[in-house]
């Protein structure tokens, strides 16, 4: 351990003995009978299917799970009686103490970058944890500078606005805030799931540097093994809690586990290195549908911005566009992939194309084949006219839920249009939602939510489908299903426009890649037919894109 950390970091061991946790109001435990020993300074990647209790374990280690009635309602004594309270069994210790006993011994980073930032100034945010641990003032600032340096944010002023940071920077800031507490145990709960490829590497490398320096213990939960494989020295695979089997399914060095459990991990949807899930390839374009190639939607000289005209007193000021002079065409049965660095306005462009945001300048026009009498400008269409023509799947599925039941959710669009309800059953089946028809959409797993959100939009039978980062944070199984399904749609003549960083996904869909230059360069995007051809794909984790110069 480097001397200037003054012994501040004491790598912590984790010991679980028959540990289990049942969340309040649930009948089954999230984690059951966990026996696990992690040595001080060890780096562990935690894998397992959804529902295996990975996040629950991290939250417990971070001491944020709340209090459980220490468990006697295990199987046998008709346990439902007190299912309203959370229930803890066995013991879970960090360096010999219960996690809640010593605040600041463990630091936790979660998935959503927006909620990892607490305060509005960079320096304050890093200091927050140290302040809460009553670290003396001078010492706090020493730690803040050191932590910012460690995560590579030292070039920014201390009063820099945290809202102006990118997703990757926000996660690195969160890491700095954790480091300033000098924790012996660092817990990362899918820290890079919401980030673009550049952000993923940024965060991973910062974590690596900090661990090398402090020697702290690491437990990270992630679907994408390739990202963390070289950084960890052990992989632990958990399985969903049950009364009979132990919680730990496999435990060993990365190479060992990946070799032994490869098939099982692939079946569980884990992104195993070197494995690209098999997705249906497109058949030769133009053979299966006569409409293929027909122009449906065109953008001419388009300038886009998410901001509405601003009110300055009584005056109205148009917003400054993030991109201008965009010219693009959407054709039936063809894929258009919008790529570019963060903040280049990819989503904004897609949503403008989708008739959801009015253009700042230029126009989006629908051809007669698409508009079918509804008028030329999609933004002016009524909602029920829009969904029958252009369907948009948002990045966050929950934003689009409008009912309290999966079946109602699917029937909603057709019902509003007055036809098309017969398609619902087919979609339920095709996207494996049949068993969930009565479930509340908000209670579904991430992959299920994604499939549902695609199904609901398709229930209205749009000719153009627009998707915003459809593969973000998805496991390999959902990914493959989605890619196959879209490739089928394309062959059937639907136009698919997707905003994505995922090169493998782009590769499956083929078609045209449309690259947007970084904001502020004032360059229009360029369409590059053929750039999305086979052979260029990397993986869900690709190198950061470079904008054309």
């Amino acid at each position: 351990m480097p001397a200037h950390y003054d012994g501040g970091v004491r790598p912590a061991a984790v010991t679980a003995r028959g540990w289990g946790w049942r969340h309040a109001g649930r009948s089954r435990p999230a984690v059951n009978a966990l026996d696990l020993d992690i040595r001080p300074g060890e780096r562990v990647l935690l894998l397992g299917p959804s529902g295996a209790g990975k996040s629950t374990l991290l939250h417990a280690l971070a001491g944020v799970l709340g209090d459980g009635t220490s468990g006697n309602s295990a199987a046998g004594d008709g346990g439902l009686a007190d299912s309203d309270d959370a229930d803890e069994t066995g013991s879970l210790l960090i360096a010999g103490e219960p996690p809640r006993a010593r605040r600041g011994r463990a630091g936790l980073m979660q998935q959503d970058p927006e909620t990892q930032v607490v305060l509005s100034r960079l320096g304050d945010d890093v200091a927050f944890g140290a302040e809460n641990l009553s670290v003396p003032r001078d010492e706090i600032w020493t730690r803040v500078h050191e932590a910012l340096d460690d995560v590579g944010l030292a070039h920014l002023p201390l009063d820099h606005a945290t809202s102006a940071l990118s997703g990757g920077q926000k996660q690195r800031l969160a890491l700095a805030g954790i480091l300033a507490m000098r924790p012996g145990l660092i817990l990362l709960d899918e820290p890079t799931a919401n980030l673009d490829p550049a952000g993923v590497l940024e965060v991973r490398d910062a974590v690596g540097r900090c661990l090398d320096k402090t020697g702290a213990t690491l437990v990270v939960v992630e679907h994408r093994v390739a990202v963390w494989k070289d950084l960890v020295d052990r992989i632990v695979v958990l399985q969903p809690g049950s009364g009979t089997q132990p919680a730990v399914l496999i435990d060993g060095t990365p190479d060992q586990v990946l070799e032994q459990a490869r098939e099982m991990l692939i079946a569980a949807g884990v992104w195993v290195p070197g494995y690209v899930p098999a997705a249906r390839q497109r058949t030769l374009a133009g053979t299966s549908a006569e409409v293929t190639g027909q122009l449906l939607l065109a953008a001419e000289g388009l300038a886009v911005s998410r901001e509405r005209p601003r009110r300055r007193g009584f005056r109205s000021v148009p917003p400054v566009p993030v991109q201008r002079d965009i010219t693009a065409q959407v054709r039936a049965g063809e894929a258009l992939t919008i790529t570019g660095p963060n903040g280049a306005g990819k989503s904004t462009f897609a949503l403008t194309l989708a008739g959801l945001i009015p253009p700042v300048d230029g126009k989006v026009s629908a051809t007669v084949e698409l508009s079918r009498g509804a008028g030329i400008d999609p933004y002016k269409w009524r909602a029920e006219q829009l969904i029958a023509r252009i369907g948009t799947v948002f990045q966050e599925p929950e934003h689009q839920f409008v009912t309290g039941r999966v079946l109602d959710e699917l029937q909603f669009g057709p019902r509003h249009m007055g036809h098309g309800e017969e398609r619902v059953d087919e979609l339920l089946e095709r996207l494996r939602l049949t068993g969930l028809v009565d479930a509340n959409p908000y209670t579904l797993s991430g992959g299920e939510k994604r499939r549902l959100s695609v199904a609901t939009v398709l229930a209205a039978h749009p000719q153009v489908l627009i998707l915003d980062e459809p593969t973000f944070g998805q496991d390999a199984n959902t990914w493959a299903e989605l890619a196959s399904f879209l490739s089928e749609l394309l062959d059937a003549g639907t136009a698919v426009v997707s905003v994505t960083h995922d090169q493998e996904f782009t590769h499956v869909l083929g078609g045209t890649e449309f690259r947007l230059a970084p904001r502020g360069l004032g360059q229009p995007g360029t369409a590059q037919p053929g750039t999305a051809q086979p052979g260029t794909g990397g993986h869900a984790l690709g190198a950061p894109e470079q904008a054309p110069t």
Binding site: A62, G63, V64, G104, A106, G107, L108, Q110, D112, E114, T115, V117, V118, L119, S120, R121, G123, D124, F128, G129, A130, E131, N132, L133, S134, P136, R137, I140, W141, V144, A161, S163, A174, G177, M181, R306, R308, R312, G313, F314, L351, L356, I357, R382, A383, E384, L386, I387, T392, V393, F394, E398, H399, Q400, F401, V402, F412, H416, M417, Y442
Partner: protein
């Protein structure tokens, strides 16, 4: 929207004063103006406040951008007071049930000036006070519970996020076929649905933020502060300034004979 509350490069003198001192000064002025409806005390206070603009880094353009609802409200209040209050003195305007006399005009003018004079210090305070500094000051100097103050401060950051979220949810719902256009009933229903969506997201975000804060050790009985909130000599001047403006307004009104305590009026 997200940075509506930030000071964005304001270097003016009053940004360096302690927020609590500024609060106290504003309170003194507002208190005096709340006591009497007369045009003299209000115009003296208003004139002094306008002189303070440069010290707070405020310009008329900025004032109008941030405070126009208050200004419009004051104007409407003044106008309606002058036409609706009982007539006294010479009648200047008579249109049906509305009439304006010298007396009512004076009252209306007093109302307008007073509205402005009360609103302006708030805008002044906002424009030269950073929310973070305010929280520091309230918790360290004002002895408010730090859990409450910091919780509020962190939540305020979410308010800006929620404004963006509202827009996104509105678009996402249109993409599902929920029209936010149409007759008022349809719009109301669409707005209610959208509000529910926002509520769900707000609770999710708030829960995650709470976990983040707790995981960083927030919630203990004691904590240290990376930045000390201090009083300086400037704060004495701020307090004195507030007191002088307040006193000046009273003295001028009493001297001019316009001072009338609101609750002593009786008639």
């Amino acid at each position: 929207m997200r940075d509506a509350l930030s000071l964005s490069g304001n270097q003016a003198l009053l940004t360096r004063a302690n927020p609590l001192a500024k609060f106290a000064a504003v309170f003194l002025i507002t208190l005096v103006l709340a006591l009497s409806i007369d045009w003299m005390s209000a115009s003296v206070a208003l004139a002094c406040e306008l002189l303070l603009f440069p010290l707070a880094g405020l310009t008329f353009t900025l004032l109008w951008q941030r405070g126009w609802p208050l200004i419009v409200a004051a104007a409407v209040g003044g106008w309606s007071t002058s036409i609706l209050s009982p007539d006294s003195g010479k009648v200047l305007l008579d249109v049906g049930i509305w009439s304006m006399s010298e007396g009512s005009l004076q009252l209306g003018l007093g109302f307008l000036l007073r509205g402005l004079a009360i609103a302006l210090p708030a805008v002044l305070l906002m424009s030269c006070t950073d929310p973070t500094d305010l929280a520091d000051s309230l918790a360290q100097k004002g002895r408010l519970p730090h859990r409450f103050v910091l919780g509020t401060l962190a939540a305020m950051r979410l308010v800006g996020l929620m404004a963006e979220e509202w827009q996104t949810i509105g678009m996402a719902r249109r993409a599902r076929g929920v029209g936010s256009r149409g007759n008022p009933w349809q719009r109301l229903r669409a707005t209610l649905g959208q509000s529910f969506g926002l509520l769900v997201q707000a609770i999710r975000r708030a829960t995650r933020l709470a976990v983040t804060m707790e995981a960083r050790g927030f919630g203990g009985a004691t904590r240290t502060w990376a930045r000390e909130s201090t009083y300086s000599r400037l704060d004495i001047w701020v307090l004195l300034g507030g007191a002088v403006i307040a006193a000046g307004a009273v003295v001028a009104a009493v001297w001019a004979g316009t001072w009338n305590m609101v609750w002593l009026e009786g008639s």
